[in-house]
């Protein structure tokens, strides 16, 4: 029996690509070596959101209970239970994906796959069973894994990656985090909220270096206030594991040595290219594709983290849908242009479109509109006055080119602006849209007004 499509990898790109092909009436198999849902669902986005929910509640109760009028004695937490809840959420969602495979009559094969030649996949099952699958098309969605740091191999105790960080028990008393991207920042927030002494080390001048600088600076201030020690412009030059922990030498203007129970390495990801065919790779080892998501081997396609940055689940899902639509129709699939990025510490950070830096580099003339949550009724009522909305509009037509939000629910507020950019809305359409009162989204509306001197509440 021959499949129309075999997908290698069951993560966001893989399972979504498989389901889309099944929706198109195709005969599909999905090969996954671990668990459906991939990193995102099992060891990434989802379980960390569970941990972060615990962290923000604990943080709120610990520091602001009396402001809010709560009174209790002996507030505590159960670390193993926090981890267990996170694992249970992952487990539930992974079985949800497995159910979706069944519903769409997708053959779900638990195996490690290699592609010896186009049209064939060699699978070695977790039970040792070997089989060869025939397929007209193959979609490689094998994703990526944490990038190791030279000289600091992961051992799961004193040196950990994000995978171990979400199940580490006992809780480390002191934690060094190398890399202040979204993963580093989220774990810094999480561990700090539960009382771990956290030092966040970043080589570049700001944490969340891909975000707008103004947002990064605001977040640095907020996290420092919460007790996280932040070292930017700092490079780890020496590493050593000690009897009961780890010791790093960090060079900035001055050299200093830091000791802790554990170090979390969060310096990016490396590709997981399947064995077999020699697929054309870019200099960093990610698979190169053409406009139809096809690799250099005809009939073999790739989507998701494996084709390079941005390494985001929502981008992977979108790419997989584009790729599969392209495989089974003559329409040219779209390539990524605009995507939101979210970081789930508190205050949250979310953005879509260009940063001010990028717009300046491109030589775009633009107007900026800002609005602080301090002047937003709903934010005050909810006790979340921290943060602001920053929007950028190109001149002369006033189309929105960038949106940056720091504050409560920023990650939920950003969707509207993604739609606006995607539909090429200008400030006029945003201005003309009624935003419900009282909501945090009014801050978005007022930031639009602010860019054109029309904001009412500032």
């Amino acid at each position: 029996m021959k499949y129309d499509l075999v997908v290698v990898g069951g993560g966001p790109a893989g399972y979504v690509g498989a389901i889309r092909a099944a929706q198109l009436g195709k005969r599909v198999a999905c090969v996954e070596k671990e668990r459906a849902g991939g990193t995102c669902l099992n060891w990434g986005c989802i379980p960390t959101k569970s941990l972060l929910r615990n962290a923000e509640l604990y943080q709120l109760l610990r520091h602001r209970a009396s402001d809010l009028g709560f009174r209790f004695d002996n507030l505590g937490f159960d670390w193993p239970k926090i981890i267990a809840r996170s694992r249970a959420v992952s487990d539930k969602l992974a079985s949800g994906v497995e159910f979706l495979f069944k519903k769409h009559k997708i053959d779900y094969i638990k195996a490690t796959a290699s592609i010896p030649e186009p049209g064939h996949l060699a699978c070695k099952g977790t039970d040792g069973k070997e089989q060869v699958l025939d397929a007209d098309s193959i979609l490689v969605a094998t994703g990526a894994t944490s990038r190791p740091m030279p000289g600091l191999p992961i051992n799961g105790k004193t040196v950990i990656d994000s995978h171990y960080a979400m199940i580490i028990d006992p809780q480390p008393k002191r934690l060094l985090i190398i890399g202040a991207g979204a993963i580093g920042v989220e774990f810094a927030y999480f561990f700090n909220a539960f009382g771990t002494e956290v030092t966040l080390i970043e080589m570049l001048p700001n944490i969340l270096p891909v975000e707008d600088t103004e947002i990064s600076v605001a977040l640095e201030r907020a996290l420092t206030k919460q007790g996280i020690k932040i070292l930017t412009n700092s490079k780890v030059t020496e590493t050593a594991t000690t009897k009961d922990g780890v010791r790093l030498t960090v060079e900035a203007k001055q050299k200093q040595t830091l000791e802790a129970d554990s170090a979390l390495v969060a310096i990016g990801v490396s590709p997981l290219v399947p064995t077999g065919l020699s697929l054309k790779l870019d200099p960093k080892g990610f698979i190169q594709i053409d406009d139809r998501y096809q690799t250099n081997v005809p009939g073999v396609y790739a989507a998701g983290d494996i084709i390079g940055p941005p390494w985001l689940a929502h981008v992977a899902m979108w790419e997989a849908i584009q790729a599969v639509n392209g495989i089974f129709s003559a329409a040219t699939p779209k390539r990524l242009k605009t995507f939101p990025g979210c970081t789930y510490c508190q205050p949250q950070v979310a953005s879509v479109g260009l940063t001010e830096r990028a717009a300046k580099e491109k030589g775009i003339k633009f107007k900026v509109g800002k609005f602080p949550f301090l002047a937003n009724g709903k934010a005050l009522a909810a006790g979340e006055p921290e943060g602001f909305v920053k929007l950028m509009f190109a001149e002369p037509y006033g189309e929105i080119i960038g949106a940056h939000i720091i504050g409560a629910e920023a990650t939920e507020l950003i969707a509207e602006l993604g739609l606006a950019i995607n539909l090429e809305a200008t400030h006029e359409e945003l201005e003309a849209t009624i935003h419900a009162h009282p909501t945090l989204s009014e801050a978005v509306h007022e930031a639009v007004g602010n860019a054109y001197g029309l904001a009412i509440h500032i």
Binding site: E399, E424, E428
Partner: protein
């Protein structure tokens, strides 16, 4: 409130107009319905009437100047209003004020084809720009602004955005290689025109609005419509005899004579009712098969040609058709046609017989999908039913068809019907 008067869109293909003459002068008072100016469009010279009363306070366009549809022409102030002190003419193509009113003129009553369309300036931001087919144009707000700024028409642009929406890049690429839009005057009508060498003996003739439209429409027709051609030689003897009889009778009664073309028009209208599939247009997702035959007829005029339309030709007598085309042709020559008199044709007849042309194939006039090319009636030897060679009168009828709508068999059926009607003109009575 002073009222801005803008160049109105007076026909579906009009993108610019020439202000021939200001009838009202600055300072004169204007009543509703007064003629403000004469405007030459691509099709005709028209009178621009006032919709509001007041005093003509400013005039921004000189006589003889050609401007885009929607561009400001003049300012009208109320009787009790002071004249605005700053008399800086507004910049052309600014979109901010064009959203107020479509055009400050009385639109001529639109014909059937124009009834689905709203007149609107090309450069509007708040309202959808009307599509030629009457459908909504899906375009992003940014694309609309850029299009208004660059004078790009959105109607026929392909959209590459979500759901086929026209986005900025589509407008920009259309602007860069704008071949078909009849745009601002300095722009060539075709991107691929090879520049001809010009010596001192040569004359450079600037394009009139009509020439510009002919160039754009026919380039569009010939490059985007899959034409195919059919022709048949038809026995014109019966028609010639019938014409002689009728004209003799008419002469006695002091009535005008019929031309050969009158018969061809009548026969074409009847043939279209016999083969309704030929009386149709390609419209993207659908084919529109027309319920009436609005028969256009090419008329040569000084600077080109126009195709006035005989409405509901299928239900008109030979005399009515004859009288109507005479009237329309004379109006066309004096540029007095109203839009409803040249818009909305469903098929066209082009007759070069009077020039002695024996046969030719005309280019389809979009959005129609069929044009009948008529040659001269020639005396020539023919083989009769008895197998003898005898003198005969023959005419060649040719069809150019849009293959998206009219297949070979349908075209052939139509031509056969036409041939039968010409050869047996009595069939036109039944």
């Amino acid at each position: 409130m002073p009222i801005t008067i803008e160049m109105p869109k007076l026909s579906d293909t009009m993108t610019e107009g020439t202000l021939l003459r200001w009838v009202k002068k600055v300072g004169e008072s204007v009543a509703v319905g007064d003629v403000l100016a004469e405007v030459e469009t691509d099709k005709a010279t028209m009178e621009m009437e006032a919709f509001d009363e007041g005093t003509l306070s400013e005039v921004y366009v000189d006589e003889g100047q050609t401007v885009q549809v929607g561009q400001k022409l003049a300012l009208l102030v109320g009787a009790d209003e002071p004249k605005p002190s700053a008399s800086k003419p507004p910049e052309p193509q600014k979109t901010s004020n064009t959203e107020k009113k479509a055009a400050q003129t009385r639109q001529p009553e639109p014909g059937p084809a124009a009834q689905t369309q709203k007149p609107a300036p090309a450069a509007q931001t708040d309202q959808p720009i009307p599509a030629e087919s009457g459908a909504r144009v899906k375009a992003s707000p940014l694309a609309r602004k850029v299009a208004a700024d660059l004078g790009v028409e959105l109607q026929n642009l392909p959209g590459s955005g979500p759901g086929g929406r026209i986005v900025r890049d589509d407008v920009l690429s259309a602007h860069e290689n704008r071949p078909q839009t009849v745009g601002q005057s300095p722009k060539p009508v075709a991107a691929t025109v090879a520049s001809a060498p010009v010596s001192t003996q040569d004359t450079q003739i600037s394009l009139s609005g009509m020439r510009r439209t002919i160039a754009a429409r026919l380039l569009e027709a010939k490059t985007t419509i899959p034409h195919f051609y059919l022709q048949a030689e038809v026995d014109a003897e019966p028609l010639v005899q019938l014409r002689q009889q009728l004209n003799a009778a008419n002469e006695a009664a002091g009535l005008p004579k019929f031309t050969v073309n009158d018969f061809i028009l009548k026969a074409t209208a009847v043939a279209a009712t016999r083969v309704p599939k030929a009386n149709a247009s390609f419209s993207g997702d659908t084919i529109v098969q027309y319920g009436s035959v609005h028969l256009a007829c090419a008329v040569a005029v000084d600077d080109g040609l126009v195709t006035p339309v005989i409405r509901d030709a299928q239900s008109k007598t030979l005399s009515q058709i004859s009288a109507e085309i005479k009237d329309l042709a004379s109006k066309a020559r004096s540029k007095k046609l109203k839009p409803e008199q040249y818009q909305g044709g469903t098929m066209t007849v082009s007759n070069l017989g009077s020039y002695g042309v024996d046969q030719f194939f005309a280019i389809i006039n979009p959005p129609q999908s069929l044009i009948v090319s008529v040659g001269a009636i020639l005396k020539k030897p023919v083989v009769n039913a008895a197998g003898a060679i005898v003198p005969g009168q023959r005419i060649v009828l040719a069809l150019s068809c849009d293959h998206r709508v009219v297949d070979g068999a349908i075209g052939a059926e139509f031509l056969a019907a036409l041939k039968r009607l010409i050869e047996t003109p009595a069939l036109m009575l039944v």
